[in-house]
Amino acid sequence: MMRSMQSQWLILRRSVQLSSKLKLKKGMVNKMADVKKIATRESYGNALKDLAEEFPNLVVLDADLAEATKTGIFKKAYPDRHIDCGIAECNMVGVAAGLSLVGKIPFVSSFAMFAAGRAFEQVRNSVGYPHLNVKIGATHAGITVGEDGATHQCNEDLALMRTIPGMVVMCPSDDIEAKAAVRAALEYDGPVYIRFGRAAVPVINDKPDYKFEIGKGTVVREGKDVTIVATGICVDSALGAAELLAADGIDAEVINICTIKPLDEELILASAKKTGKVVTVEEHSVIGGLGSAVCDCLSEKLPTPVKKLGMQDIFGESGSAAALVEKYGLDAKGVAASVKAFV
């Protein structure tokens, strides 16, 4: 109890420091890599704003959550291109479909629970089936929504979106990848779902040779004993876990999969062939998400033992993001323990 209170306080202190930093730096958009932690929803809002001139047909839709989804950043700069649809997500998705049919590139925003959950059938029938150029930017995904609890912690969106034919599904791990994913979505012609988080996460992709491509994963740490495939905020946990495992003599390879669909099968197969054991880590149900996608690939092409870490067919609960990640074993320590038990 004491420790979890302390970690909550630490997070609070860090976020206060972060926001004061942000206020100080007016030209912050280009200096995100300097900032230690940032929520990918914030990256999303910044990217929309930064790309607005380059993509004049970009319009942004929200359902009364512009402050939370951070599309408010775009709204402030381009009020005429931001459409608040009110609390009506199903209609919002249909309106986006119509907008795309008259030449706009709509980015639809809401919490993952409502964008992928409530409006699932609209996404399937009004966007997926006609294969329209609609982008869905879903924020507040997974358990790191935190205090709002299970009704708002969407652990099913990747599964739902993966089942729609022709849908690209992405889950960026940090600020840099989130912004790259938004650009890639705008350059791509067709439906795209991108999942963003609420909680601030460390920047991990600030490397000079960083390149982003839809459908391409990255080996972020080379190893030979076990492959840890992670997505979104869990990439950081996986990297942390790999360090802990190294101390125990286990050399883990870590793969960052941003695009869950289409999956970078080549990269996963090559790593699985090398290590012979695969662990998947995601802030999502172990049913239907990254873990399932990896198993779909391996079971057909290279049967390999797999351990899926994530939400084990259960709902989340209220608590701080850090406390929840720890409780459900998705922090570095938890992932390391699970990997150790598996190998």
Partner: protein
């Protein structure tokens, strides 16, 4: 077109509907026939379209929100020259482009539809996009009176009224019947006109089978500025086929060979009277 020409054309559309559904051995003749005059007026008189150039940018758009009445739309498009009338016989068959519900890949179809309540939102999005880009095209969408039981219809209506989309025309085909019976027995959407008024629409009530009334209504819609228009058309489900008229049983059923012969004889008789 004169009213007589429109009536003749609508009768051809009805023959196409009955023929397509009979050939498919499945489909929705009742609501297709009730809307046949509206389809005909839109595609032969009202909308700025070009069958030779189905995707021309400044065209008016149509979304069949009550997508199950695809036979009505397909027969109209075929008769208007988008594709051969003969192809209507391939409706719902494996390999045919004429899917059971409207599919965007069919020439002349502006939006896939069929899951009720969704088409109107797409139409609203098209109208909004037109406004944002200062385009002059208009957007039409046809809904069933049972369909308006879907909550999404009212999300879309609230949004369209709020955004003052006067380039949007919503048509509700009020034939009074849905699969399980009379709409007022299942879950009454009445009063339909007052509901749309409350959602800041300009509302017109009119007879679905009277071309003078349809002409006046669509002209009034075009002249209406600052708010979208809803035209509630009072129709007869199964209109034109004696045994299908006002019978909920013909919502989603195909006629057998004997029934098909009677239906076509009914329509031939109507056609002869229009000569």
């Amino acid at each position: 077109m004169t009213n007589l020409e429109l009536q003749r054309q609508a009768n051809e559309v009805r023959k196409g509907i009955v023929t397509a559904v009979h050939s498919a051995k499945a489909g929705h003749p009742g609501g297709s026939l009730s809307a046949a005059d509206v389809f005909t007026y839109l595609y032969f008189e009202e909308m700025n379209i070009d069958p030779k150039n189905p995707d021309k940018e400044d065209r008016d758009r149509f979304v069949l929100s009550k997508g199950h009445t695809a036979p009505g739309l397909y027969s109209t498009l075929a008769n208007r020259g988008y594709f051969p009338v003969e192809d209507l016989k391939t409706l719902r068959k494996l390999g045919s482009y004429l899917q059971g519900h409207p599919c965007i890949h069919i020439p002349g179809v502006d939006m896939s539809s069929g899951s009720l309540g969704q088409g109107i939102s797409a139409a609203v999005g098209m109208a909004l996009g037109g406004k944002m880009s200062d385009k002059s095209f208009r957007v039409y969408t046809l809904l069933g009176d049972g369909e308006i039981q879907e909550g999404q219809v009212w999300e879309a209506a609230m949004f369209a009224g709020h955004r003052k989309l006067d380039n949007l025309c919503v048509i509700v085909d009020n034939n009074g019947l849905q699969i399980d019976g009379k709409i007022e027995d299942v879950c009454s959407p009445y009063p339909i006109d007052k509901k749309f008024e409350a959602f800041n629409f300009h509302v017109i009530n009119c007879d679905a089978h009277d071309f003078d009334a349809l002409r006046a209504a669509f002209n009034e819609a075009k002249a209406t500025k600052g708010q979208p228009t809803a035209i509630i058309v009072k129709s007869v489900k199964g209109k034109g086929v004696s045994f299908m008229e006002n019978n909920a049983g013909w919502h989603g059923k195909a006629p057998n060979d004997e029934e098909y012969a009677i239906a076509m004889a009914d329509l031939e008789k109507i056609g002869a009277a229009l000569q």
